[in-house]
Structures are given as structure tokens and as C-alpha cells.
Symmetry: C2
């Protein structure tokens, strides 16, 4: 039914199978640093309009693949589609980041939450996934994603971004049962959402736990990792006769990689504050690793970028199970040519680390 996958390096690396070189993609690769993205975004009128329009979401998803020899496409969307579908009043104010008009603060607020039906409430995402798969024509695999329940929960309770997470931590320490109840609803919603993405054609999945690093070891385990482990246990991991690899990424979670490696995912994202050599030793070959160049390296000259790519590749070292990526999303003021220099360096420098060279 679908075109055969011409480039399956990503899927193989995420399952620690041999590849001739290290696959590479970039978090937020469909984004504002690309002039063609800014043009489509202007056409859409707003960020939310772009997310909710399958044709335009497909268009921006494919843009970076036209420019660069990337090994994956990632669905253009946002981690806040679930609270949006829960009708909490999501808005993106210019330069302000996301706002949730009706934050979840009380027992009544939690009781009023419901699990959105992906087929109707999140139809625009599912349609985008199907359309992107069709347009990709089997060039590279498509990654679907969601935010972690904890991270999505921070926006739901805080009503937007936060530096200190006062409101959700107030709930966490003061009414932990209430927070668990909310996170359970978000987790069920996330499982159904990711399953719908797989059914529509997503070939790998990633869960972004952007704010797990704000927790203590004990509260991370209880309020973030636990729910990601539920997702790993419940989500569809096979489709079209192939394993659908799952990547978990807790930004600032370097110290918790050993526990994360036992949560049931195939791979872990690693930010730049942990060396891949350390991460590899800490996870003892149980999972693949994805990362981890500091996105700010892309501000430097191509020669510096190449040296830093070499350092990341050498840090992971020889063998299978590395997907090259940035340690976080690409910054919006990066020169697109510098992203290209990074990708070219991975192509040029990574074959020496793989047995099956060239």
C-alpha cells in the first residue's frame, strides 16, 4: 500500500541495527530558521493556523528535506495539541510563547478534563500524518510525537510557559493525588493520540519531556518517568510489518538516563550537558541514543561546526545505536547553510564509526 522505504537508517539506528553511517535529523528542523517556512507561516496567518492545516503542515514538514540530505521527517505540530483538543483555550501570542486561557488548577478543573478522540478532535494532525506519508513517497521515515504528560501538564497548570513551575509544583507537593489524576488523563489522551499517528503512518515516535529536568530525582520518577513508561507500555510499537521505535527525551535528564533506559523505549534523547560517552556507559547498550550537539554551535563557522560534529561522533564512538541530532531544537536565527554544514559533516565523518563502512 505504501511506497517501500528507500532510506531506513533512522529506524535501524534506533533499534541498534547496523548502518553504514550515522543517520541525522534536527529537532525543529521544519522551523523559522528557514525562509520557506516563514513564507508558509505568513500564508497560514498564525502558528496555530499552520499546525491545524494539514496541507500547510505537510508543506513545512517536507521543506527541510528539499534542502538537506536528512534521514527523517518529523511531523510539524506542537506538543500542546492535546490541551487544545481538551478545549482549554490555547493561544500563541507573538513573542510570548503559548498561553492556556483556562488553566487546570482545582479538583473541578481536573474532573472536567476529557480524553480527546483523535479521529475527530485531533483530525487535523492525523490528516497531516497521512498526507506527509503520501508526499514523502518512502524517501525517509516519518516521526510522530507528543509531549510527555508532565511537560504538557506544566502548560496546562501554569497557563503557559514558566521558569519555576510554581503552580504545578504547588499542586505536586500540596495535592499530589490531584496532579496524578490529571496526568492520568493526559497520559491516556497521549497514548490514543500516538496510536492514531501510527495508524495514519508514523514510523517512529518521540516523546518530548522538555521540563522533566525541573524535578527532583524522586518527583521525576513519580510524576514524569512513570507516565512515559505507561506510554511505552501501551503505545503501538509495530505497524506495516515493522517495529515502530519510540524515543524518550527528558531535557536536563542526564543523571536519570539509567532509569530512563529501563522505561521501555528503544532510544533516549540526550541534551548537550551530558557527553554521549557518559550516556552510553550509563545506559549500558540497552537503548540507542539520539543527540547531542549544542544548538548554539550552529552560530559558529562551518569549520568549528565540523570539529564539534567530530567530537560528538567520537564521544559516542564505534558501533551501532547513535542517531545524530541537536541537543534541543534548532534556533530560529541560525544560518541555514550552517545546518547544512552540520549534516554534511555527519555524512562525511560518521562512516568510520560503523563496521559496515561506505
Amino acid at each position: 500500500m505504501s511506497a517501500p522505504l528507500a532510506n531506513d537508517l533512522l529506524l535501524r539506528a534506533l533499534l541498534r541495527e547496523p548502518t553504514p553511517r550515522t543517520p541525522v535529523w534536527m529537532m525543529r528542523q521544519a522551523g523559522r530558521y528557514l525562509p520557506e517556512y516563514r513564507a508558509t507561516r505568513a500564508k497560514a496567518g498564525s502558528f496555530l493556523a499552520l499546525c491545524t492545516n494539514p496541507e500547510l503542515a505537510c508543506e513545512v514538514t517536507l521543506q527541510p528535506l528539499e534542502r538537506y540530505p536528512l534521514d527523517a521527517a518529523i511531523l510539524f505540530s506542537d506538543i500542546l495539541t492535546i490541551p487544545h483538543a481538551m478545549k482549554l483555550g490555547l493561544e500563541f501570542e507573538a513573542g510570548e510563547g503559548p498561553k492556556i486561557a483556562r488553566p487546570v488548577r482545582t479538583a473541578a478543573d481536573v474532573d472536567a478534563l476529557f480524553v480527546p478522540d483523535p479521529a475527530s478532535d485531533l483530525r487535523y494532525v492525523i490528516d497531516a500524518v497521512a498526507l506527509i506519508r503520501r508526499e514523502l513517497g518512502g524517501r525517509v521515515p516519518l516521526i510522530g510525537f507528543a509531549g510527555s504528560p508532565w511537560t504538557v501538564g506544566t502548560y496546562m497548570v501554569e497557563g503557559g510557559g514558566s521558569r519555576t513551575f510554581d503552580h504545578i509544583k504547588r499542586m505536586m507537593y500540596g495535592e499530589p493525588a490531584l496532579l496524578h489524576k490529571m496526568l492520568e488523563v493526559v497520559t491516556r489522551a497521549t497514548i490514543e493520540y500516538l496510536n492514531a499517528q501510527v495508524a495514519a503512518g508514523a514510523q517512529a515516535l518521540m516523546v518530548f519531556d522538555t521540563w522533566g529536568g525541573a524535578l527532583s530525582p524522586a518527583t521525576y520518577r513519580e510524576f514524569s518517568l512513570r507516565y512515559m513508561a505507561y506510554i511505552a507500555a501501551e503505545v503501538t510499537r509495530e505497524n506495516e510489518g515493522r517495529r515502530v521505535p519510540l524515543v524518550l527525551f527528558t531535557k536536563g535528564g542526564g543523571a536519570w538516563l539509567p532509569e530512563m533506559a529501563a522505561a521501555g523505549a528503544d532510544a533516549l534523547g540526550v541534551d548537550w550537558t551530558t557527553d554521549l560517552a557518559t550516556a552510553r556507559a550509563a545506559t549500558a547498550g540497552k537503548v540507542a541514543l539520539q543527540g547531542n550537539l549544542d544548538p548554539c554551535v550552529l552560530y559558529a563557522a562551518p569549520k568549528v561546526i565540523e570539529a564539534e560534529v567530530a567530537r560528538v561522533l567520537a564521544s559516542f564512538g564505534h558501533g551501532e545505536g547513535h542517531v545524530f541530532n541537536l541537543g534541543h531544537g534548532i534556533h530560529q536565527d541560525v544560518d541555514p547553510a550552517h545546518a547544512g554544514a552540520m549534516i554534511a559533516a555527519v555524512h562525511a565523518l560518521s562512516p568510520q564509526y560503523h563496521r559496515e563502512e561506505g
Copy 2:
């Protein structure tokens, strides 16, 4: 010349000497959560006016000691006094955080930097230290402090706070020699500044590396830890016949505690993302540890606060070398009674962990 020190628990704990209980103080204990602070701040007119007025800085430094049985006073000041003295145009905009009017971006900007003379350019701080010591009358020791060169440097280059540190990382990856040149000037300024604080009466010192956690392991070592180690090597560590302990604190630096422990300080600050048991094992008794309750715990009810204090004390465990603190500054909307509950819990629950009980 000075009154003898009635309570030296802090100094003893920082040197891993026996104490009958765990000493306790709070980062940002002289701050906005206290109504008496807000009154003095209103009298001063602005945050910067408060910092630069020795009488008012002394007044707010002593306020938390009137309310709580704390084991230390910490100089009320700001880590940006050095760029202020360098005449880079420091301003605090309401609700916006600090701004540096003339950020340091070019070789010419770096060449124009000078090492301020604490006796003139930072006289208000030195006068505040002397006044606070006099007013303390030997009740508890006075902690002096500075920002780490890297952290102060982020404000100098970014021109204010940042989430991604684009400008300084652009310099770090693109012109590392220029950044080193700037950090060397800031380091020399910091050493002279801390030495002047000790000469004026500071009995312990702390270096706040609030943004070291934004670096990779290699760049942390090269651009932050290296300069803190210079400070540890150069700063006066003895005064009035007593050791002046030095505490280094890198927020988000949990993974680097073993390297920090070798940097020459007496103690390390630990944020709440690392358990003290882990930190203690990682530092192998080479340094004392200071921390590490999540400041958001103080939003919870006193019973929860007590349980979390118990958990922190148990995590450090038996023996010497723990100073109880928050893992970061107290939040401005905390109920002062909750801070009191935390301090009372440390008094009540910590003697059991010390050999010299009661």
C-alpha cells in the same frame, strides 16, 4: 576587635567539623517574600538603590534573622555589581530582570573592560559588609558572595537574562580566545572584590554559577569551572585567625560535582535535581554540601514541608559536612510562615544525624 562568634555552626559544617545539628540558611533569605523587605525596598525606591545604600542593605540583610533562628546572614547584594562597577549600564526594569545597556560583544568591548577598584568603585558593598558585621554583633557569621565569571559574563554579553545564551555561546564557539580574555578580567575583578569583602568582615564566601548548567561538560570545564578554580586558588581563605570557607554552586551542575570537588572549594552547593546521597557519594567526603530542598516545597503545607526536610536530611545521612538550604533562592510569593516551618524542622530533625547530639 569584633565580637566573638556566638553561633559558628555554619563555619564548622562548611569545614566538615562536628556540630550538634545541621545549620540552616536560605538563598535569597533577605527578599521579597518578607513584608519588611518590601517596605525597605519601597523606601529605597528601586532594587539598585537598595543594593547601593549600605544602611538599607544592612537593614534587609538582618531582617530574616529577626524572624527566624538562621545560622548565617548573607550580604544583601546582586551578582551584577561587577558589571555595574565596570560602567556597562546596569538597570533593573520592573518585572523584566536585569539589563546591561552596553553589552560586551566585540574585541573593542573586551579591550575597554577594566578591573574595578573595590575600595572606590564598589565601596557601597564593602561599607555594607562592615556595617552588617557591626550590627550582627557576632550572632551568626556573614557570608559574602559574587557571581561566577561565566554567569556574570552571560549578562555582560547577552545584555540581560537569556534562556538560550545565544550571544555568549556564539562568542564561545566562534571566538573562544576573546571570551577567555573577557572572563579573565571578570575573574580578576571577582577575586579583588571577594578579598575586599573578607577584609571588611565576610566570614564565608559563596560563588553563584547560576548558568553553568547551560554548558556542555567540555565547555563547562573550560569556561566556567576553570575560572572558579582560579578564584578558589587566589581568594583570601583566612581572616581574624579563622578559615574563611568557600562554597561553589553551579545550578544544574549535578553531573559535574566530582570535578567541582577538586576545584579547591570547601563546600559545594547542590540544587534539588541531585539527591544529597548521590552528591555525597560523588564527592567522596572531599567537600561539604549545601542544599537542597526544592524552593517550591515551601508552597506546600507545613506538614509536607517537614516531611521533605526529613527526606533531605536523611539523604545526606549521618555525619558532618551538611548545611541545609534550598536548592535555589526562595520564591517571592512564599508564605513567611512556611520558611519558618522549614527552619524549625531542620532544628528539630537534624540532631539525630550528628554524633555530638543536642
